[in-house]
Amino acid sequence: MTEKTKKASPARSNGLQKWPRLSYLITFVIMCGVWVLLSGRFDAFHLGFGIISCMTASYFTGKLLIPSTRLSSIVHTWFNFIIYIPWLLYQVLVANLHMMYLVFHPRMMDLIDPRIITIKSRMRSDMALVTFANSITLTPGTITVFANELGDISVHVIDAHSGDALPGEMEERIAGLFGE
């Protein structure tokens, strides 16, 4: 696993990396934040142990969390992700209200019409497809059944017009998020 990532990383970043250690540094900072949050103690003993274990963990996992070493793309992705979250929460709320309507409807069996539809996504990177598949599962009446790296996604929809909005706006937003 580690050999594979080491071989793949120079080709992927295409010689554009300015600071090769940057992904380790960002991983270290995030891990220190999580450590302080979870321990809640600020004396030298606990902070020292935290820094030692964060350095060890970020040495092993730095390339996994942040594969790109270009600062601009990292900032762009994280900033857009923070903008994406409120929109996703709104979609989750709509999904839940629709599902509550179906659950408590007396003639529920007439309203639902489960089927499986296949859509083609133009996104290719792992993180973008995972985010897209999980977002589909969270939104109105749809669950991702299958996805592969070529962008083929099968979706189980609960009624006829739940799948109309796919891929649509959500794919646009996620493609913008990961710069594809």
Binding site: M100, V103, I112, P114, R115, I143, T144, V145, H156
Partner: protein
């Protein structure tokens, strides 16, 4: 004031949990039962844990703030794992070859027709 908001959020969360449970019983087959199980539960967790976080920061100290932040952490982890688990279950059903229910091959309606 915070007590009232906390109670409202908790009751809304429990209402979503109730809807999820009723949905699991009422829906016709394996795949459509996963819709309420996966979605309504994550919404219930969001609302009720936000209520708990809000109640914790009623008296604002450092320790209380850290506890509230941990609760928000739990919400974000549930929002990542819940769709993933739903997808894993539905994928297992597909691999085992379970056909999904639809209106045309509904067994009950065929029996009612003649």
């Amino acid at each position: 004031m915070i007590d009232i908001i906390t109670s409202i959020l908790l009751f809304l969360g429990l209402f979503f949990f109730l809807g999820g449970s009723i949905g699991i019983i009422r829906f016709p087959d394996f795949y459509s039962r996963l819709h309420p199980a996966g979605k309504l539960d994550s919404m219930g967790v969001l609302l009720s844990l936000c209520a708990l976080a809000l109640y914790t920061v009623k008296s604002l100290t450092m320790g209380n703030f850290l506890t509230a932040a941990k609760i928000i952490f739990i919400v974000s982890f549930v929002f990542i794992t819940s769709p993933t688990a739903t997808h894993a279950i539905i994928d297992a059903g597909m691999r085992a070859g379970l056909k999904h229910w639809n209106k045309n091959n509904n067994q009950d309606k065929k029996e009612e027709k003649p």
